[in-house]
Amino acid sequence: MSHRSFLLLCLVPLASFALAFLAIPLVRLVLASGEGAEGWAIYLTILRTPRYLATLGQTLLVSLAVTAAALAVSTTAGLFLARSRFAGRRVLLSILTLPLAFPGVVVGFMIILLGGRQGLVNQLLPGHWVFAYSVTGLFLGYLYFSIPRVLLTVMAAAEKIDPALEEAARTLGAPPWRVMVDVVLPALAPALIAAGAIAFATAMGAFGTAFTLATDIDVLPMVIYTEFTLSANIAMASALSVVLGLVTWALLLLARSLSGGTVAAGG
């Protein structure tokens, strides 16, 4: 067997799986979105229904806010941890990456424990300190699972920055904050874009957290879920899924082209 045919053979299992369980189902999903009473006009309906638009806007807004917050927190902490050596550093690092594989439902539960009526905050500061079921709760839940992802990406990038770059800036008279602005942040930029894209995509699609918090704040995945379960409005659920998928994927592609192809979404 030639090397070429061997390589093709290696791709056969994966390609068949992707065709059967990804490509065809996605096509089916798109077709299903047009099989409702209104046909393809369903996408117009989405555009004309304020509730859907508001939800899409809300989802985008929460996701963008989470992305910004996760970048700020994780960049600060990531740079700090990448550059300092002190006892307990490894422990802090472990804590910050612990939630990496928590499912959304667990994250939701964590937020209830923190900000629910019986949560820690409300117990320590009784009054109106119940935030778990509001946008704040949702935001914090998404932030909870975004911090570790962004942190790992930022730290990996920070460790790759050539220390000589910073030293060079200092030999040229730059004080520490200028070194940060002129050298460190530009060097981190691709990683920040990549990590931000991951945080954004994860937040856009997050379902378990919203489901557990069961808030009144509708985000698109929850709406898709209720469309599907309320009146078995499969067409609308499919159409909204298509919209959500496209918006998220397009933004990831954009980020990838901005960051020079380093966007590799994390779990």
């Binding site: 050539d162 000589a164 770059l165 030293e167 060079a168 800036a169 200092r170 030999t171 040229l172 008279g173 730059a174 004080p175 200028r178 002129d182 050298v183 530009p186 060097a187 930029a189």
Partner: protein, 343 residues
């Protein structure tokens, strides 16, 4: 600027004594090379001068008499060229060169004027607006140099600025760098582990070994009057002739050589260019390998000394591998140096 170091030493956190207490004075405009094998402390010394590393307590670094030992790097007014060049990839060539001037708070117009001047000096005009990522190795090196000198530093420090280049380019840029450094006319310290580079560029060379300066002097001094076997080997590749010295003779496996008087208790070295094929010579040897080098042949010889000797033989033909030959070495060509216990 006169640079003087007194009792500068460095012990790293792990306990590595990278640099033993060292004194050194460098005259204004002088180009000094720090030459030595890997790990001997060259970079450490350079970084202490730059202020990128803190020396052990007791050290003093003086720039023109002003003590700068406690001054942070960004306030020392030094220029540095890194081995990897460390050009800022997010800035153009011009922005890189102008960065130090910007940090000094110069006006836009002054920065532009000075950048133009330095760009011209380093022959970088055609590339001035390029991204630094779009430059060849040699061009990068010139940008690094231009960036370091643009703010008119008091001293220019270079850490193996040629070692990132491939062999062909290295040879060419070595000469270019030597010319540029002279044209700047500033005090410069130049780290390298390549003796050709040190010789070609420096006024004086400090040969370092295990955290200490073994010898300091002009290239000729180091070559002709090495004070230790280490320097003799490192500068000019002298080979040890391990044998027994009786009176004024050195007894080797291939025969005995006459020494200059006073060589007892010393180790004897010879350089490849000083070994001659001589049918009447006192040493017997066997040719192991012959390489044609154009102007001469390089011969690998066994049997004369305990180790293989290399000889350079000028002439249009050479003996073949396997042939027996005789060698002579003039007494003056034998370097007798204090015995050292380790290589």
């Amino acid at each position: 600027m006169t640079l003087s170091l007194s009792r500068v030493a460095k012990t790293f956190a792990g306990g590595t004594k990278a640099l033993l207490p060292t004194d050194l004075t460098i005259a204004p405009g002088e180009i000094l090379s720090l030459l030595g094998p890997s790990g001997c402390g060259k970079t450490t010394l350079l970084r202490i001068i730059a202020g990128l590393e803190q020396p052990d307590p007791g050290a003093r670094v003086l720039f023109d008499g002003e003590e700068v030992t406690a001054l942070p790097v960004e306030r020392r007014r030094i220029g540095m060229v890194f081995q990897s060049y460390a050009l800022f990839p997010n800035m153009s060539v011009r922005a890189n060169i102008g960065y130090g001037l910007k940090m000094q708070g110069l006006a836009r117009a002054d920065i532009d004027a000075r950048v133009d001047e330095v760009t011209a000096l380093c022959q970088l005009q055609p590339y001035a607006s390029r991204a630094v990522t779009a430059l060849s190795g040699g061009q990068r090196q010139r940008v690094a140099l231009a960036r370091a000198i643009a703010p008119r530093p008091r001293v220019l420090l270079l850490d193996e600025p040629l070692s990132a280049l491939d062999a062909a380019l290295r040879g060419q840029l070595r000469d270019e760098l030597a010319l540029l450094l002279r044209s700047f006319g500033i005090t410069a310290i130049f780290v390298t582990h390549d003796q050709d580079e040190a010789m070609a560029i420096a006024d004086r060379v400090a040969v370092m070994r295990a955290g200490q300066v073994a010898q300091i002097g002009t290239p000729e001094t180091l070559y002709r009057n090495p004070t230790s076997g280490f320097v003799a080997r490192f500068v000019g590749g002298a080979m040890p002739l391990r044998g027994r010295v009786t009176g004024d003779h050195l007894h080797l496996p291939g025969g005995a050589l006459r020494l200059r008087p006073g060589a007892a208790g010393q180790q004897v070295f010879v350089r490849a260019e000083d070994i001659r094929l001589d049918p009447e010579g006192p040493l017997a040897a066997r040719v192991e390998a012959v390489t044609f080098l154009g102007t001469h042949y390089r011969l690998a010889l066994s049997g004369a000394a305990p180790d293989l000797l290399t000889a350079l033989h000028a002439g249009h033909s050479a003996p073949r591998p396997g042939e027996a030959v005789r060698l002579s070495i003039a007494p003056d060509a034998l370097l007798s140096l204090p015995a050292e216990d380790h290589a």
